[in-house]
Amino acid sequence: MKNTIKVERAKKNWTQADLAEKIAVSRQAVNSIETGKFVPSTVLALKMAGVFGTTVEIIFQLENTD
């Protein structure tokens, strides 16, 4: 699964730590989700979409291998 978290963060000028604080997770969690090492739960994905002011489909997209 690919994501646009880095792009969305850049738009808001947020660091990983800023995003982590807003969705109440560790910076390590944000990093592992952003780099595709961990696929978040629906709740966390919705929280992310909420703070970015967008939808989950914009942030997370399935790849052909998924």
């Binding site: 604080e21 109440a24 997770v25 390590q28 969690a29 966390l44």
Partner: protein, 130 residues
């Protein structure tokens, strides 16, 4: 991560230390002072209380973690459990072939290995998600 979420984990570390101290004191007392049977049984069961408190705070600590940290803990526990099973199985088979010295390979000697296996699992799992 805010400090309120770190508090349960710090509490778990504190109770781990309390259990370790209790266990060491009881072990030392039983081995060196050779108390009577009833005192010995009480001393043997005493670390159960502190261990139960440690496990309770550890579970509460894990519950307060985010989903990546919970995954790390889960994978660390799986690795530790597998290694512990492997060790017990190997020692059990070896014990059929050669007589293992109980002063080197008794139940109490394998306990520290379980903690080592957990930390090995933690290192492996943390690296995976860093």
């Amino acid at each position: 991560m805010d400090n309120t979420k770190k508090a349960p984990r710090n509490k778990a570390a504190l109770f781990a230390a309390i259990w370790l101290v209790t266990y060491t004191i009881c072990l030392f007392t039983i081995k060196k002072l050779s108390p009577g049977a009833s005192t010995g049984i009480i001393l043997s069961l005493l670390p159960v209380v502190t261990f139960a408190l440690f496990i309770y705070t550890l579970i509460r600590g894990v519950a307060s973690m985010d989903e990546v940290q919970i995954r790390i803990q889960m994978e660390a526990a799986v690795i530790a459990f597998s290694l512990a099973l492997l060790m017990i199985m190997t020692l059990g088979l070896l014990d059929l072939v050669i007589t293992l010295n109980k002063e080197d390979w008794g139940y109490r000697h394998v306990v520290p290995y379980f903690a080592i296996f957990y930390f090995i699992g933690l290192i492996i799992s943390k690296r995976k998600y860093d």
